[in-house]
Symmetry: C2
Subunit: 333 residues, 2 copies
């Protein structure tokens, strides 16, 4: 689909090649900024950085900056900052979800315990802000801190709704906006700002990334039903076990029978696949095309994202941002 | 003692009267800034604010500013910011210590659970920074974020040392510096900065408050042995039960017999006063003058604080800051 629009869509490999050298500089900054006077923090940071991750958020910053200007140290720093904030959020989320694995490795809380993980998350937030402050730009700080607060509120909203079967599509989209799309949007806007973009372009690129972020989270939630543990890096079906009813299931529940609804309710109640097996749940989701409908919804957001990025002048970085939309939807983990 | 130095020491009541009207403005800012789109946060913030506390940190900001200039909205905002950061720290600390009460009321984690409390603490940090950013002063942000990180590292260090009986006085002082004195120092420096003080005066007032903070924490740790639950607002002997060996006990252990040492070790091992009663522990502390020696140590820090504040020109606010040192040492909770 991307190809018909601009003729030269990039493959995932080509996008990564475009930012590869710069991403190594981002990794260097993260490594340098993750050494603390308390050894536990340094150890946790090494563990997290070694676990990797897709680095999608810093990629967005790097590509967005270069849509407007050559890369600067500030852009590298901003890319590191958003990944550090993202990581801090994950560390606290894993405590809250009592997650045992993350990216195929034991989670921080599984290795160091909840107490240390709470403080390590706090430390990472502060370190990210310390790096951000050095840019001496108040708007950058306004965006970063406002967005972090929005994400925390999103987590709290999610927590309040845990275990509820009557989650509406609107409830769900509110969480996706706060938990994922807002940070994506900020990444693009920080990049644009650092590249010297005007306000209209910054806002437009932010909207592009917001749509991309929504699609990303929708696909994430689909993968929790369709992927396999060794590919996903964590057990499939985790969302429902943790009490989270996501879009594929929300759609299926709209048409499900009372007996099927009761099966979903049982998993939520028991917080495990005990009296109901996971494949019974995926069976229900499949029966009512929950995955297809959620993927169609994701596709509408990536289409909107593609239209928005298509409005920018053609360049290698514009094509790369266009192609990131494919990366987000066509993935298995 | 204060009286011999400057002739006109203020009583606690007189100090409070001096900042009373301004503190109500600080409380208003805190109330306004504690309303979130997520009801749980607003409810937690109302609970915390109603629980009160000594408001020592905002008092320090208000008095420090007025040592140099009339009060401004920025000074009021800074006073609110330091109290919000302090509160966020307490919320996370209570999660980490699994504390059940704080200031005579159920702790946040006891009422809302650990998960919500972790996120509420995060939210409060971000809100404090949002308010601070509005002052559009990078040095303010440098100080606040650097100090918050120092406090978090202090908590982590404390966590690593939990349950250890071989804590030295140096280990202990390092924690007191990070956990309490640094924030006191920042309060005075923020006040001085907002009042337009020169760098030398700002540094000197910061040192005054640092000494005050050390004394404050030493007295706090003494009170955990000497006070009563209904006065302290939490069970006495909590520190040792939680695995924290503090100065009165560190001093006593230097001279204690092997049998007495074994009693302390038993409480640390059992994390409770089970095979050893609390009054056996206070007996050991008394036998070796642990409380007196810790209070003498505290007194040396308040004396240093008094000497430093004595170098500033006399004024109502200078006298108030002088008298705060009495407030810190001569208290029962």
């Amino acid at each position: 689909m991307g190809i018909s629009r601009i003729g030269q869509a990039l493959t995932a490999r080509e996008i990564l090649n475009l930012v590869d050298k710069d991403m190594r500089r981002v990794e260097d900054v993260m490594r340098m900024e993750s050494v603390a006077s308390v050894e536990a923090i340094s150890a946790i940071n090494r563990h997290i950085q070694a676990s990797g991750g897709k680095r999608l958020r810093p990629t967005l910053v790097l590509l967005s900056t270069q849509l407007f200007a050559p890369l600067t140290d500030t852009a590298i720093a901003m890319a590191a900052v958003v990944e550090m904030i993202h990581t801090a959020t994950l560390v606290h989320d894993d405590v809250i979800d009592a997650a045992e694995t993350r990216r195929g490795k034991p989670s921080t809380n599984a290795l160091w315990g909840n107490q240390t993980s709470v403080l390590a998350g706090d430390w990472l937030y502060m370190q990210a802000f310390q790096v951000a402050i050095r840019a001496r730009n108040f708007r950058v700080l306004d965006l970063l801190i406002g967005m972090t607060q929005l994400m925390v509120e999103g987590e709290l909203l999610q927590l309040e709704r845990l275990g509820r079967i009557d989650i509406s599509e609107t409830d769900y989209m509110e969480l996706v906006d706060r938990k994922t799309a807002s940070l994506f949007s900020i990444c693009a806007r920080l990049g644009a700002m650092t590249g010297g973009a005007n306000e209209a372009d910054e806002a437009r690129l932010g909207e592009f990334a917001w749509n991309l972020g929504i699609a990303f989270q929708l696909v994430d939630d689909v993968l929790d039903f369709t992927s396999r543990e060794n590919i996903l890096g964590k057990p499939v079906g985790s969302d429902l076990r943790e009490g989270k009813v996501t879009l594929p299931l929300i759609y299926a529940l709209q048409d499900a029978t009372q007996a099927e609804r009761e099966k979903v309710a049982a998993v939520l109640r028991e917080q495990d696949y005990r009296s109901v097996r996971f494949d019974e749940i995926t069976g229900i989701v499949k029966r009512y095309n929950g995955v297809e409908r959620a993927m169609e919804r994701a596709e509408r957001f990536t289409e909107r994202a593609r239209a928005l990025i298509g409005e920018f002048p053609e360049s290698a970085y514009q094509r790369a941002l266009f192609s990131v939309t494919d990366l987000v939807t066509a993935r298995d983990h």
